[in-house]
Point group: D2
Chain length 354, copies 4
């Protein structure tokens, strides 16, 4: 069985861990060998559901287990770096829940360690593996929307307040990773504002504007204290526009053949008249396949073939750079902060073999 | 008839003017005496619909007409100041479409002129007169929501691109006036970002954060280039929260008995646990009365009694101060700009008689 | 002007009459000559809005007016026959609000009279002229949906209770006319149930099933006593399905590429397996043009050219036959009642010249 | 463990069986002892998820197992009678998926057998245990809606076509059980129509009208071949009205303070005028608790205490009587069929001890 299946260890069995265990369990190319968590009740729950999985309160047991090839980390953010680094040092491939680590500095160290050892380091940016985002990316790559004017997203609900990160590290991280994935350029600066309505807690509400080198702009609105759940993204292009509503049961992505028309070329700006064009709306069929299932397949595949994951460590680092710049901007009430530009490594590139 | 009805002149019969003429016409205390517009076709349309109304291409004709007591201005923004000042100098009361004028400086001059002459100067902040906003204000005044945490609004659609003002002067102006009207405090600083997707046009998309002296925050998102029309406002409070959707035919205002709970007093910040509370939702009946009808009644009443209007010149000035500061912030990519604080005159106060 | 414009008289200026007057007024090929109504207040309203239109409390004045070529009738249903017959006898073309008359017998007499005199008799089945229904008809004619399995419609709201007809004569009449218009076959029998919740009033709620010669079925649910307004129609076909929601501001017609698949030909019924197919959804752009404007153009055109209208007297008669049969079925608690089959006259056919 | 937990056997592990096993497993007062199914793959799936549960392809193994006190049946409808009767004869309490059996005759035999042996016979009318239906029942019992005028329901989606029962036995059964549960009277006759769009299959679309002794009426529309899923129920009363949308994530039940008003008492029917009243809307908080969890608790409780279940065999019989009458009406294209009236046994009544 060792030869045919990737041995998986999972650390953390709280909110997200059960989804990881379930998806690795149904993947025929993987096998969950062990799970560690500090809570005995959770470990008992695992044993009842998955009698073949070893449970332990000591993370070290996973690291020492030679049947485990890769570690999936689903613990609070402030523990990510330490747990991931220990896994890499033990020679394990690593999949880490988003965000990868609490700072770009720490993420860089993980990337270096993984690269040095020829191990796969992947961050769990789940939304990149949803059929909806994949469809949107496909439409944008085919330039169905023309030039992209904006990405404008709202992600809010009541809860889950976190203790160790603010709302942008918890929710905006999804949009930042999507923006990096679907646009063919990256933001160069950010202006963000945030507010905290519970004394002693991190910011629970924030608004982020990302500037690009051209007229494209992205805006992300996140809120842990909203009366209703909202997951809506508007993407405007010169030819078409998209409304992506992740709460819609089936028609998640709607493509509008709408826009403005200009009577004269933009050069003669003083002369043109703006017109409005309203055409059909089209909602492509979106597969109901669970994103995490696709992601787990991709992780297993990357480990086996040495391919860089779509959500590689470097991809996670680019996201963290934006989050850090946004946090600095929030502290300065919206003052624009430049974003450090990183070399863009295409997912197609393979890493050097260890 | 002179004694019983206020004589009204309307200048501008494009998009908004017909609504003014119609609402003044059905108000028994007013009479539309004349309308001026530069387009002969529009004037012909008026004559067909309202045979008793004089039409003219010369604004001066209205100013000279002694049967006209008040002028309603519905022309492009850059003409507001000149037309309003001329009307005041001719001794007419004035109702001006929003925004009152293109700068705070010009608005101040109009206020001074009106005050000096004891004339009513009112700005057409129509939303303040909608039954929905009146209901929200009533709920907030009664502290039904507890402490207000945030006001977060989206106002977008495809069109109508304007030439002489950007999208915040056209759309965000509604939210700024609502915020001033329903909250018991005013913003002290603003961070805003905006973008322009049509070369040579003003910004067609903007995001504005308003900071208050306490933890309350307001955010306004406006867009002329959206595939679908959105008019949604979320208001979060410590006790309840509101979703106000102006496109809903009947249930425009929904009050959610939802929120967070804290186990310990906020003082012992390290100890408390956040809980979530989900109770009933309640949508109060909202009268279908047209806002402009109420507004016209209020204008006529203010002129007759000398009462300061709810949307007085000073109220319009406070809005303009925010728009100007937001425009400056947009030019600096979100850098926060303080907002000049003006003395707040309660609507209940009456002005000194001339 | 006589030569170039059709002279129109309108009788009844209550709920629907103002729409007729407005739409005939803006039609360049027609001119509203006079309006009659029994209520002096309504007549005054007309004179204020349309100073060029003569008003009268005597219907006879319209009939005698030689400038009037055609009469549009918008009065209670029980008066339709008498007013329409008088108009035809006075040599006027006639447009009658739906339903054409309270019985098939009376409708037949109107048809005979109009045919004998070579006059246009048209019934105001407004929905046939909506861009949405026109688009649906176009899709069905092109067999985009394959074989039509069903038409299932809900039309409900709070009010307007009528006194002289029950809810099927008021609301289901719309669906019956649409069904006749978009399907290439007509119902052969009907089973209907209805109930009355206000003592002394006609039925305010009804459900109608229409049987066809093949497996196609139509169902219409109507209700004057619904807490919310609903205008939804589902059309199922062997290839595609439609959801038509008339309350949607823009995406009124949605075409779903969904359905079932059979593994084996239907002949070997015991063997096949049913599968489900889910593809894209598509919402064709629907023109915002007002239906009554199109209808008035069509009426004027039919009068001028002698063409049979789409909603001819005979078309109205077929609708009445269904309503009468449905009423009989309601009285018998759903017992099926056959529908008298009438010769189908294609709209393209022209009538014999008088 | 025998003393403290009810031993459960489940037969059938297809669509619904896994839900039963899961809910009995998490109920501390029950223990799933064994599951039988004919498909070895399903049995393997059970063993993986529930290693402590015995699996078998022979139903008899469950009946013979003395650790099993009660049998839950989740197999095709045509097998219900035989399996349930065998279980009762083996002295087991029985919970049967809806509908209880394919005919009233067979259901009566099961009731007799259960009564004779003092065993609990319960039918799995899951909707009766949803928090939404419980809330609606509570509102109706408190007469919040006044007199009930109608219950009008739509239950449609694409699939799941069944082979051995038509759509009313599969979907309308839910509404019939709800109607019996929330109204204080039962239907006396039924008119129904149905159609079949797949040759050789049972009816996939049907419309049912239920008549009551008074003006109350119920209508149920069911469809296996709908492009979109709909689960909507409208309940009209003399004082208030309800819209219950089971697909709404949180606001499933909306109570509208709307209705008609009569100027005169209904006695002087010729004189009154109908008015319309529009007040607030209120959406009570609905618990997110899974219905089957509540149902399983109730079953265990009924077995232990000898209480008649809410969804007792007799309650299931009343539902079957309606389904049979509706089927007869469908065969006669809507002809009304009287419904056999059964003695109503209040859920509060306890059965005679065995």
């Amino acid at each position: 069985m060792r030869d045919s299946q990737l041995g998986i260890g999972v650390v953390g069995y709280g909110y997200w861990g059960p989804n990881l265990v379930r998806n690795f369990s149904i993947n025929p190319a993987a096998r969950v060998v062990g799970v560690s968590d500090l809570d005995p009740g959770r470990l008992a729950a695992i044993r009842q559901l998955y009698p073949g999985v070893a449970t332990t309160a000591r993370y070290d047991d996973l690291l020492k287990d030679s049947l485990i090839d890769a570690i999936a980390i689903a613990t609070p953010v402030h523990t990510h770096y330490e747990l991931a680094m220990a896994a890499l040092r033990a020679g394990k491939h690593v999949l880490v829940e988003k965000p990868l680590a609490p700072s770009a500095e720490l993420v860089s160290r993980l990337i270096d360690e993984a690269d040095r050892r020829g191990l796969t380091l992947m961050v769990d940016h789940t939304f990149l593996y949803t059929p909806a985002v994949q469809k949107i990316r496909e439409l944008l790559l085919k330039r169905e929307l023309g030039d992209i004017y904006y990405y404008d997203s709202i992600r809010s609900s009541l809860g889950l307040f976190q203790r160790d990160v603010n709302v942008i590290w918890d929710l905006a991280v999804h949009d930042i990773s999507i923006i990096h994935h679907i646009l063919d350029q990256e933001p160069i600066a950010v202006s963000a504002t945030g507010s905290c309505h519970v004394v002693g807690s991190p910011e629970n509400m924030a608004h982020i504007t990302l500037f690009f080198a051209n007229a494209c702009v992205a805006h992300v609105s996140v809120n842990w204290l909203s009366p209703v759940k909202v997951r809506q993204t508007f993407i405007g292009g010169s030819k078409k526009m998209i409304v992506y509503d992740d709460l819609e049961p089936t028609e998640k992505v709607k493509v509008y053949d709408k826009g403005i028309t200009l009577d004269r070329p933009p050069e003669s700006a003083h002369q043109f008249r703006i017109g409005y064009r309203a055409g059909d709306m089209w909602a492509p069929h979106i597969s109901p396949k669970e994103a995490l299932q696709t992601e787990v397949e991709h992780f297993v595949d990357c480990v086996r073939t040495g391919t860089k994951p779509i959500s590689s460590g470097m991809s996670g680092l680019r996201v963290i750079e934006v989050l850090e710049a946004a946090s600095r901007s929030i502290a300065k009430q919206g003052r624009p902060i430049p974003i450090r530009q990183l070399p863009r490594i295409l997912p197609e590139e393979t890493r050097a073999t260890a």
